[in-house]
Each structure stands twice: as C-alpha cells, then as structure tokens.
Symmetry: C2
Subunit: 247 residues, 2 copies
C-alpha cells in the first residue's frame, strides 16, 4: 500500500495517528516525515509496554489489541486509569517519563514514532498539536466521566457502565446500527474489570451474575456477552439515556 493510497479520509487501521492526527489537513511531505520516524512494536498479552517513571522515547497509537494504563501503590493496590483501544493515542509530547504503567491487556500492536522528531514535527506542523489537543480533551472528558463512576456509583452500576462503554466502542468499530441487540466478546478478565472499576474480582463476578439473572445481559460463555436492550443497560448504569461516554 502506498502513501498516496492511505492518504484519504477512510478509516486507516494500520496507522491511526496518521489519519486522526494528520491526514485531514497535511501535505505529502509531512506524511513522508512521519513515515520516516515510524515503527511498529508487538506485545503479548500481559507484557508491559513501559513502566511508570521510565524514560519514554516514543509516542504512538494502538493498531490492534488493548492496552491499559495502570497506577500502582506500594502495597500492590492497582487502579486502571485508562483503556486504550485501537486508534487511541499514547504518549506525552514534551515529557520525559511515563506517568503510569502501560500494559498489554491482550496481544497488542502499536504504531510508534520516535519522540524527538515527532516533537519537532509538531512545531513545524501546527495542526498536529491542535489535533492532539482535541484527542487529549476527549481523554480528559473520559477520565472525568470515570471519576463519577469510581466515586459515586454502586458495584452494579459500575459493571453496567463498563459494559455499556465496551459495547458502544465495539458497536462503533463494527459500524453496526444502534438498534437491536449488541453482541461482543469481553476483552478483559474479571480481575482487569475490577482494576478498572475499583472493585474486587469477586464483586465483579457477583454483579455480572446478578445482571445475567435479571436478564440485563445474556452470557453464552463467560466472555461472550449479548445486550438485548442497550437502553436498559444504560438505565442500570445510572446514565441518562443519551449517554456521552468516551474511552
């Protein structure tokens, strides 16, 4: 696939940052500059992409798989603070060190750019910073939405919230309509869900069982979820029905 072929506004799965952060307005030579500092990295499920505090010499985005941002306390308590799905951006232009662990939750492929030249490109190509600002504001909104979940929702509402987020992301990825039942595979273990929700894995399991008993969700297997009525799930999540979630 040539550069030119990718340079349109259709979804560019191979290298989302080019599409999302650059394509919309950029010129060909910028694309080539990006191309020259780009490389791919693959990780197996469970591998750590980078440890909190370590120097981080790249920025990039998720091509396939799921990565999580995790904070850990000395005594081992952990809180997931971000869930990175395909096309999500990772990295802090202008920062030396990673502020939290980045862990591959599933097998993972990332598209990376060396940080120094990327930062230089940001200076000469203003709309990259503008696009990154928009993406960061989206992440900030998602983080703050999550603060409400963590601080004020019950265990049942937390589970419903997480399921509705994953369902919505999944549905938008497959560009299926918003009507009818939604079916997807949970990409997270019960423990990972607990880490995201500030719960224990036992509580996660219990609440999933409860939602299943109440027919809010259907489980073919432990990971395969069907949501017969998205509105019902969002009621359970305590969201108003329009729901502006982003992750």
């Amino acid at each position: 696939m040539t550069l030119k072929a990718q340079f349109d506004h259709t979804n560019c799965a191979e290298c989302p940052i080019r599409h999302r952060a650059v394509c919309a307005h950029c010129e060909k030579d910028e694309l080539e500059e990006l191309e020259s500092i780009k490389y791919y990295r693959s990780f197996e499920a469970g591998q750590t992409v980078i440890w909190s505090g370590d120097p981080m010499n790249f920025v990039g985005s998720v091509v396939s798989g799921i990565a999580s941002l995790t904070q850990t306390m000395e005594d081992g308590r952990t809180q997931m603070v971000g869930l990175l799905l395909p096309s999500d951006f990772v990295g802090r232009p202008g920062r030396e060190n990673a502020p939290y662990d980045v862990v591959a939750t599933t097998d993972l492929v990332m598209c990376c750019f060396r940080k120094k030249p990327f930062e230089e490109l940001m200076v000469t190509t203003p709309h990259i910073a503008q696009r990154l600002l928009q993406m960061t504001l989206d992440e900030l909104d998602a983080a703050r939405e999550w603060m409400l979940v963590l601080g004020r929702k019950t265990a049942r509402e937390k589970i419903a919230s997480l399921l509705s987020i994953i369902a919505r992301r999944d549905a938008s990825l497959h560009s299926s309509g918003t009507v009818g039942p939604i079916v997807f595979d949970l990409p997270l273990t019960r423990e990972a869900m607990a880490d995201y929700l500030g719960l224990t894995l036992e509580t996660v399991s219990r609440q999933i069982s409860a939602l299943k008993k109440d027919k809010v969700i259907l489980l073919e297997s432990k990971r395969h979820v069907t949501i017969p009525d998205m509105g019902r799930l969002m009621e359970e999540a305590g969201d108003d029905s329009d729901g502006g979630f982003l992750v």
Copy 2:
C-alpha cells in the same frame, strides 16, 4: 498597568493565561489581539459559572478564588471532577457545550476570552495550542491520579491525599520552602471535600478528627490547618514520598 509591563516572565496574577499560555514566546500584536477579546467575570461563592450541556462561548482562566467541575447524576449524587485554582484554565476550544457544571466554590474572578476569536488566534498562533496541550496533559495526569484515590484509597487516605494536594498547591503559591510546617486555610467545606473524594460529609468530618487526634494535622479552627510533617501526611495518603501530584 500597561501591556508592556505585563509582558515578562514574572508571575502575572491578573491574567494568568497570558503568562502561562502565551507570554513565553508571543509577539506584541498577539497580546493585543488577546487583549481585545478579553473580559472579566466575577461570581459569588455558590454561583454556577456554567451548567453542564449549556453552550459555552468562552474559554478562560481563574484569576482568584476556586471553581470546581462537577458531574451530577439524575438522583442527585454528585462527583467533583476537577478543582480549579488560580491560573488554571477552563474551556474546550473546538467544543460547543460544557461537559460538566462549573461552580464557584469561593468568590471567584475569571479572565475570559470569547471562544470564536480565541480559536482563530489558536490557528494563527501555533504555540497557544502547544501550551494548551501541555496544560491539558497536566490536567489529565491529575485526573488519573485522582482515579487512583477514588478507586483504591481508604477514607483516611483520601482525606490525607486531598490535604496534601491543597497544602502543596498552597505552598507553591506562596513559594515557601518545602521544609518546616505548612499552614493554610481549607478553601472547601466538608461537603465539598466529600464531593471531591466520593465520601459523605460525615465520613470526612470523622476522618479529619481522626487525623487530628493522631497529630497528623493540627486544627486551630475548623478550617485552619497546620501540617507539622508533610512526609508523615504523605505516608498517610499512601503516596511514595516524592509525590508527583498536580491539580
């Protein structure tokens, strides 16, 4: 005070955005453009600056006082998702509507810029976007640090975390050294602290009493706090002693 007089790298309390987002690199005519779209707004404690979902036709920053960003569920549960202290930025260039309530926690003065022209200025003045990106990344880090507090810390640790944040912000504002006891007035009611921490006001009160009994903090009055040993407080907060908190 003339424009020129403000155009240096000393702290510019009157209009922090100019200093923080623009001053470092900008040219005089940009300052004048900013000046022409700038206005001030004052609020009394308790007033709402803007409601979630309402169109927001300005961006700006806090000049004096404290504002809070608050999410509310239909049944009245509320979670504070951000605490805006002097020099903090408010607003989302490129967004139409406010994503959450902004409330004046104390009497508040804001320095605002009309959004449309500010956005236009962002296009012609690239370093504004770059500076805003840095500020937004800081906010994102703070939000994620807060997610750990909300999700995994005990009530006592939550209180200690909040006190250490406020203490640190206060100390840096007064540019006092990092040694010796820290003294400050709590700018928040017990209820506001509870909203920030995902607790009830009774629990906040109890934990403050407990920290006082254990001599982690001293209270001259209900709002006047002395922290004899910052390291001790941060231990109570469950942070490692170096502590990279930002709010």
